[in-house]
Amino acid sequence: MAEINLSVNGNIISVDIDPDTPLIYVLRNDLDYTGAKLGCALEQCGACMVLVDGEPTNSCVRAAAEFEGMQIETVEGFGTPDKMSEVQQVFAEENVAQCGYCTAGIVCSVTALFRKTRTPSDEQIKETLNRHLCRCGSHSRILDAVDRIRAGETI
């Protein structure tokens, strides 16, 4: 076991863990940020996506210890049910989720995209979303929601 310090959603948190534990287990079990989900543990599906120094990053393989000194953000850091972020609000209004298992990861990636540019190209959107799999077939609604944000129709 080893003590590591992580910055999650702006808070510095100290945890005593097996040092090779992948980040997702620490976020979900030790810190109660359960938004990120285990999907494949192979960095293939994107259900575990969080932001690390602003970049969408799979949390299911790399050890938590590797992320010391970096700014980790999870979907819980963007907003709450009563006060959602812009991306969360538009996604909710567009009712994009079906089962919702893949959604938190997608919210993370799309949030990062719109922080970089308010007017991402179609290519940038595809590149961002292609890191995520969805089985319910919510893709078209997610693309519509992203279009709405890009067009500035968020109120």
């Binding site: 359960t34 079906q98 077939g137």
Partner: protein
């Protein structure tokens, strides 16, 4: 006695509606929310009938003995079952409360207005709420199926834009999935599966076992069933890897590698003539295939094939269980808590009263996936490690290689048209493994749980009986709505096939509708008749005609002026009793022989629509899932087991091939609900096949329509 299945089991208003919390209406239902938004639809129905705000209505997560037993959340029946029951229960309650309100306020019932959960005497400020009346009201009374429900012209809630129940929580990571459960003293568990179905545990390295035990890791060995449990989840993950390396397995039998379509047509099978109403007959002899006069008719024969498909949920299945020596509590994300309880009580010889099963949302299941098995696995482990709730998660590898798949299918159609372009004969023989190996109460449900075959007191693998009900499993949607002489429909329930199968969304309908609607286009082409007109020429059902005519208009209004693009359509009424769905597709094929989807055109008549956004999501999601099956998916396996064990070896559709959606819902206020959850799948497959033919001139009859298959079809031409 009510004839309605849900109301027969749960006849009272109080079985469905609970006003015991001030200002809140709690709905009880036996249907679970698996992403299809049934909770939103049920809350809207009650909100409309009772004039209670949508936000003040909570829908319970189903629990045995507390909520109605409505069997499985399956077959697109939730609106027809629970939606209907809650509508009638709500209307019955409104009449009872209205009478009490009239007494309390001392005004005639006609003088009362109801809004925001309160009754107000018109033109006064005197009012009373449901909750102020509840102590005087008796809801342990039968739901009145003849009750007068709200006139659709007075609807104020249904079909208005609503954010679905749970949506804000999903967006912010606050929605509680089964995978997120955290209970006192809980242990995380993983299982160690054999390399394939037909293996027995030969030995376990005792050094490894001892080391694991020294590290406070629980190891469960029950026959050939192996699991580990630990207080830290990643400890369990690592321990499972070590245990896996410590286990030696003996392969008793290998998986047959003979071509699956050869097996489907040559293995042992039960064959049934399927009569009008799409009902297999146990007695009627199967007639010979009729040969039509060649001078008067054109005849086409073709064989259509689909491989094994996975449910392939994004979240591997999970289950949680806790056993104190007497009582067992199980948390599951499966589609039926009552049948799962029946399987558990049978397997462990427990009294029903000692087993409680609680639904908690999980990743989408799309039928009988690994959820039931994972719950059962958790129960096995919990019985070995008493006093600790066990949260078991399957891995990606477990899910891909052990879930019950949707069967491979072969559909052989021979059809003729006469000189007037009318269908003069139709024969369709379909071959498949069972689509119904779910645990069923009263039918040895324990044998349907995968681990029941590996524990010490192993049960034999079950052989599911052929389903003989209308549109049951393999024969679902074999019969079409088109007018024609009595068709020769033959269902072949094939045995001794290599992979474990059960219910995958639409059962046999996906393959049957693909075959039927592909052949309809082949006939239309051969008669040189437009595919819309060919279908319309054979239809009398006005709602079917309306859906197709609307589709034609939607496609004309949204077509693209690109020469290399192909268009195709497909149509069916799911089970010939649920929603009518017509689908159009615009696609092209690039130089790498990859299909690129540009537009999806969807027209649906689902009867009265309660939650339009929910219906759209089901249709569009159904289209995308079926497009994924059709273009990309097949379970790969070899004699030593399943090869498709992750997303590289079982690719599904991605965001770069999602078409523009053009969805139109036919509005029929006041008409009975028609389930829409599965209507899109079959027509989608056919529309893609027909559009591919239009774009390339190639008729591809075997899925998936991947570059290899398309190139092979090109070489055959």
């Amino acid at each position: 006695m009510s004839k309605h299945s849900s109301l027969s089991n749960s006849p009272w208003v109080s079985d469905w509606l609970d006003f015991s919390c001030e200002g809140e209406l709690i709905l009880h239902t036996g249907k679970v929310d698996i992403g299809q938004r049934i909770t939103t639809a049920l809350a809207l129905i009650a909100a409309e009938e009772l004039s209670i705000p949508f936000d003040d209505i909570t829908v319970r997560k189903t629990r045995t003995d507390v909520d109605p037993n409505e069997g499985y959340t399956a077959g697109s029946f939730s609106m027809q079952h629970s939606g209907y029951a809650i509508k009638k229960a709500s209307a019955t309650a409104r009449h009872i409360f209205t009478k009490k309100a009239s007494e309390r306020l001392n005004v005639a019932e006609q003088e009362l207005e109801i809004s925001d959960g309160q009754f107000r005497a018109t033109g006064t400020n005197r009012s009373v709420t449901y909750w102020e009346l509840i102590s005087d009201v008796m809801l342990d009374v039968d739901v009145d199926e003849e009750v007068e429900t709200k006139n659709p012209t007075d609807y104020s809630t249904q079909n208005k834009p609503h954010i679905a129940k749970g949506m804000a929580e999903i967006m912010t990571g606050k929605y509680q999935f089964l995978h997120d459960l955290k209970l006192d003293n809980m242990l995380h568990a993983r299982i160690v599966r054999p390399p394939h179905y037909h293996c027995e545990l030969e030995s376990l390295d005792s050094d490894v076992l001892n080391r694991l035990k020294q590290e406070n890791i629980h190891v469960v060995q029950d026959g050939s069933f192996l699991a580990v449990a630990a207080s830290q989840e990643y400890q369990a993950v690592k321990a499972a890897r070590r245990l896996s390396l410590a286990a030696k397995w003996k392969s008793v039998k290998q998986l047959s590698e003979e071509n699956i379509y050869s097996q489907l047509t040559s293995n042992n099978k039960d064959s049934f003539f399927v009569e009008k109403g799409c009902i297999p007959s146990a007695t009627r002899e199967i007639p010979e295939l009729e040969q039509m006069d060649e001078d008067e008719n054109k005849t086409i024969s073709a064989t259509f094939r689909k491989p094994y498909h996975m449910h392939a949920s994004i979240g591997p299945s999970a289950g949680c269980a806790s056993f104190d020596g007497d009582a067992l509590i199980v948390w599951t994300h499966n589609q039926g808590v009552y049948p799962l309880r029946a399987a558990i009580t049978e397997a462990f010889d427990m009294a029903t009263d000692n087993v409680t099963v609680q639904f908690v949302p999980g990743s989408g299941v799309y039928g009988h996936n690994g959820a039931d098995d994972a719950a059962f696995d958790a129960a096995i482990i919990a019985r070995h490690i008493r006093g600790h709730p066990i949260l078991l998660k399957w891995t990606r590898d477990d899910e891909h290689s052990w879930e019950p798949y949707g069967s491979a299918m072969q559909c052989e159609i021979q059809a003729s048209i006469d000189k007037n372009g009318k269908i003069s004969s139709w024969s369709h023989e379909t071959f498949a493994d069972t689509f119904l190996a779910r645990p069923i109460t009263g039918k040895q449900p324990a044998t349907r749980m995968v681990s029941a075959h590996y524990i010490e007191d192993a049960l034999p693998w079950p052989i599911a009986e052929p389903m003989m009900v209308p549109h049951g499993g393999i024969h679902r949607n074999m019969e079409m709505l088109y007018e024609m002489p009595e068709p020769r429909l033959v269902k072949n329930r094939v045995y001794d096939l290599p992979l474990r199968t059960s219910a995958l969304r639409t059962l046999g309908a996906y393959g049957n509708v693909f075959a039927n609607e592909s052949m309809i286009n082949e006939l239309a082409e051969s008669a040189n008749i437009d595919p819309f007109n060919f279908r319309l020429n054979h239809l009398k059902d006005e709602r079917a005609i309306a859906v197709l005519v609307k589709l034609q208009q939607v496609m004309e209004d949204n077509s693209r002026d690109e020469e290399q693009f192909g268009y195709g359509i497909g149509f069916a009424r799911y089970k010939n009793s649920a929603a009518y769905c017509a689908i159009g597709v615009c696609l092209s094929v690039n130089e790498a022989a990859e299909v690129k989807l540009h537009d999806a055109y969807i027209v649906c008549d689902a009867g009265e629509i309660v939650d339009a956004e929910g219906v759209r999501a089901q249709l569009e999601g159904g289209f995308i899932q079926a497009a994924s099956w059709t273009l990309y998916e097949q379970v790969l396996y070899e004699r030593d087991g399943i090869v498709s064990r992750d997303w590289d070896t079982y690719p599904i559709i991605t965001f770069d091939n999602i078409p523009q959606m053009h969805t139109h819902l036919i509005v029929n206020p006041g008409m009975p609900y028609l389930g829409a959850g599965e209507g899109a799948a079959g027509p989608t497959a056919a529309a893609i096949g027909n559009a591919l033919k239009d774009a390339t001139g190639l008729r591809v009859r075997e899925m998936p329509f991947n570059p290899d298959r398309i190139m092979a079809a090109a070489l055959e031409e």
